[in-house]
Symmetry: C2
């Protein structure tokens, strides 16, 4: 047994397995047995540590929502950066992070879709975005258009490829390698496109 394996507590092994299985299959399709097997432990231990499937899911979900939106906050509220810089940071951060965890957006979006109240009950984040420096700067440039459009566009341009890749790849419209190349290109293209949309 390597040092690394020995240091991971059973609790962390289960959480790690849960992260993997839940994000891959979603809550409903996940069986606690899958998680136990993935963690290399017995099913009873899962309930010993986390009481129930629901409680374990809750933990993972909160973490994943944080991963997906947490990275956004420091960038959009920063008053010291230009809109262009913000766009560059958003594109680079999202694409690099999601490339390591491509299933993240679809998981979060799907689970929130099935539990619309989940977010409102715990993440009071609306004002942070609405009053953010990003929104102000967009409003200054385009007082004639709802800034939410551009916020959505920025996120969509970054995130949509990851959500739709199974379709494009599955349909044979693109292959895995070309897709990876596209992603890298988008890191520099998205800021340029966003700038063009703001001027259009």
């Amino acid at each position: 047994m390597t040092r690394k394996e020995k240091d991971i507590t059973t609790e962390e092994k289960i959480k790690g397995a849960a992260r993997k299985v839940f994000t891959q299959k979603g809550y409903a399709a996940t069986r606690t047995r899958d998680i136990a097997e993935e963690a290399g432990i017995n099913l009873a231990l899962l309930n010993y540590y986390f009481r129930s499937k629901e409680k374990l899911f809750e933990l993972v979900m909160a973490e994943k929502v944080g991963e997906l939106f947490g990275m956004l906050v420091p960038v959009v509220v920063d008053h010291s950066t230009t809109l262009k810089t913000k766009m560059e940071k958003i594109a680079a951060t999202y694409i690099d992070t999601l490339e390591k965890n491509p299933g993240l957006p679809l998981f979060v979006l799907s689970e929130i879709h099935r539990r619309p109240e989940w977010l409102s009950q715990r993440v009071p984040i609306a004002d942070i975005f609405k009053k953010s420096s990003f929104m102000q700067q967009v409003r200054e440039k385009r007082p004639d258009i709802d800034p939410m459009h551009f916020f959505m566009n920025a996120l969509g341009l970054c995130v949509f490829p990851f959500i739709s890749s199974p379709v494009f790849i599955g349909a044979g419209v693109i292959n895995r390698n070309d897709f990876k190349k596209l992603l890298q290109e988008r890191k520099s293209l998205i800021p340029v496109w966003m700038n063009a949309m703001l001027k259009a």
Copy 2:
């Protein structure tokens, strides 16, 4: 009993219920009992008509994939229209159709994510898109950039709002009415943005 109700066969009632429940909750979270109840019939009848949950799902899934991508084909292959016209048609068609069926994209994308081989086994549509008039016209305008980028952007700008609306609305970043207003605005904005991106 109204005329309309009387004319709907039991088979159609079940299929209709299945469409509703499957797209709302996804395959795994759907119980055949939910569908039977929604259809106002007995559980046994579902198996009498469709043999199994899987077979019924298969039917709905094929239909929904058709709904989501079928509308795209006639537009992108049409050699008689300009790129600008194509963009206008894509935006208008998608937003109008999806407004009546907002859960469609997330359903299709999620289910394909969980069954990556599903598409490749039955929808041999790759060449239609790759050789489409849309792709050619984009290549002419921007031979320096992979046209797939713009195809993805067009779809993403139309579809992403529907996928992400539960998040935006759930987090309180936007309310339902403003969201509906945004959607209408996007029908004319998206073609403008796409044009701007192509020039950038």
